[in-house]
């Protein structure tokens, strides 16, 4: 928390958790997908489901999916804008259990057919946590450049990735490892202090045993999905 978390942030109301946080979840989802969204399936949970309409959570999530930030005047018009752009948006009840009270499951399909599903949580103030990506645990805030590597659960991958980051002078802020089952699909979530060079992402993508590399960059127009 810094001074401008107290005098700030600038945001469109009414609620930092149910509106500003929701915009941010949608925005991170859009950036993670890495291409224009053609359809969004949004499942709400807990307090998002119960009070979301009054807080404009629906408009906020869609605004984020359209690439808006939490201070965008157009947030209240996002549902209309999405319709004009021909983006299919569907709201419903999330099919998740025992989640954080302000949770949402977003399934996106992009213009090139790319798909992404996330579970996002608005955890207080306008802070968020992306709890799941494509069904696997994640946990990152969207406040750091974040590298998400889906790989086979085999020895050596973690060392390869961290070794390369060190070589590129990218400092690791946090790192988490998850796997569905031994030897199956695993995921590394690495929040970094610096941006990860694009070349390195290419290299990583081609590494044996790596299924998918997703990168969340803080640089606005960056290409971020491979």
């Amino acid at each position: 928390m810094n001074l401008f978390d107290i005098i700030g942030p600038v945001m469109v109301g009414p609620s930092s958790s149910h509106t500003a946080g929701a915009v941010k979840i949608g925005y991170v989802a859009r950036r993670l997908l890495g291409e224009k969204v053609v359809s969004a399936d949004i499942g709400l949970y807990g307090s998002f489901l119960a009070t979301g309409k009054g807080h404009g959570t629906d408009a906020a999530l869609v605004a984020g999916i359209l690439g808006m930030k939490m201070d965008d005047d157009n947030i209240p018009n996002s549902l209309k804008i999405a319709k004009e752009k021909g983006i299919k948006v569907r709201f419903g009840k999330a099919d998740i259990k025992d989640a954080h009270p302000n949770s949402v499951e977003i399934k996106l399909v992009g213009e090139n057919g790319r798909q992404l599903s996330i579970v996002g949580e608005s955890v207080g103030g306008s802070l968020i946590n992306i709890a799941k990506i494509d069904g696997l645990d994640a946990n990152f805030s969207g406040d750091f450049p974040t590298l998400i590597v889906h790989n086979q659960d085999q020895p050596g991958h973690v060392a390869e990735v961290t070794g390369m980051l060190a070589e590129k002078s990218v400092n690791i802020a946090t790192m988490q490892l998850y796997r569905a089952n031994r030897g199956g699909n695993a995921v590394m979530v690495i929040e970094c202090d610096q941006e990860v060079p694009e070349k390195y992402l290419e290299w990583l993508k081609n590494l044996d045993g790596v299924n998918k590399v997703t990168y969340y960059s803080l640089i606005e127009e960056g290409k971020n999905e491979f």
């Binding site: 001074l3 600038v10 109301g13 500003a20 009070t51 009054g54 408009a59």
Partner: protein, 292 residues
């Protein structure tokens, strides 16, 4: 963010012989690795945003729930008639606080200071001050640092979240921040700043967070006026030389303990207080929505 106590800020201020606001500025420069100009520019943009938000208030719009909107306009009309009981300054503070709270509820752009629910308190006091006093922009920005410093201490040592500490943590904190800022603008030093904040906070201790239908509307919007007026009242008292009998940092500690003791049914859960009244139930029923 390094301050846990107001006394830490005032100690550095006395030590280095720099004003309260500058301690906060220098801390921000260190914390975020920015220059003095960058930090002050960001703070200036916060002032611009609240000024714009106030100017753009639209009394014709209503919130999605239909509960909020229009009251700021009513107060303005009443003030313009000129036969109110209280003077122009205070009435305008009330008006601006309500307007900002309504704008927030109606999905307009505001600055959370410290939260969206309490976004009207500090702007109401500062923008009214700008209108009534011949004050330089620089000084208002400095006053915002004062407010920010007080808010930081409260956030670190107690809470600025209604879900964690009840509404004393939101409207109460905003009031304390505004009071310190106002004391500074009126020429107060460290002593006046921290006591203005303490006196204001003391009168908001124990305030519950029981919003109707879980929305930041009832009682939040009108409560912004209470926080702002409180700030005016107690900053004036502090300027008159009145001091809090309880040390300002101890007031913040008390707020922290009270926040923990408040049952969760009174901390933004909608399970008690105003939120479960008959009137609230009617509103909630009307709102119970269907996601298509």
């Amino acid at each position: 963010m390094s301050f846990k106590k107001l006394s830490e800020i005032t100690a550095i201020s006395e030590d280095k012989k720099i004003p309260f606001w500058q301690v906060i500025l220098e801390d921000d420069m260190k914390e975020r690795g920015v220059t003095r100009e960058e930090s002050m520019k960001t703070m200036g943009s916060m002032l611009d945003t609240i000024t714009e938000a106030d100017a753009k208030y639209d009394e014709s719009i209503r919130s999605a729930s239909g509960m909020a909107g229009g009251d700021g306009g009513k107060i303005e009309t009443f003030r313009m008639k000129g036969n109110s009981l209280i003077d122009g300054f205070i009435l305008e503070v009330i008006e601006k606080a309500v307007k900002m709270g309504e704008s927030n509820a109606c999905m307009k752009r505001i600055v959370a200071m410290p939260t969206a629910g309490s976004c009207g308190v500090i702007p109401a006091v500062l923008l009214t001050y700008i209108k009534h006093k011949n004050v330089e922009r620089e000084r208002i920005i400095e006053a915002l640092y004062v407010a920010g410093g007080i808010g930081e201490v409260i956030a670190t040592s107690a809470s600025i979240s209604g879900a964690e500490g009840g509404c004393q943590a939101e409207i109460g904190s905003a009031g304390a921040m505004a009071a310190g800022a106002l004391a500074y603008l009126e020429g107060g030093g460290n002593e006046e700043i921290v006591h203005a904040a303490a006196l204001t906070l003391k009168n908001m201790l124990g305030l519950t967070c029981d919003p109707v239908a879980g929305l930041v509307e009832v009682p939040c919007i009108k409560r912004n006026a209470a926080g702002a007026v409180n700030a005016v009242v107690y900053s004036q008292m502090a300027m008159a030389g009145v001091r809090s009998a309880i040390e300002p940092d101890e007031v913040i500690d008390s707020m922290n303990r009270i926040g923990r003791l408040l049952p969760s049914c009174l901390k933004e859960t909608g399970q008690e207080g105003l939120a479960i009244t008959k009137s609230a139930e009617k509103i909630t029923e009307r709102l119970s929505m269907s996601w298509q």
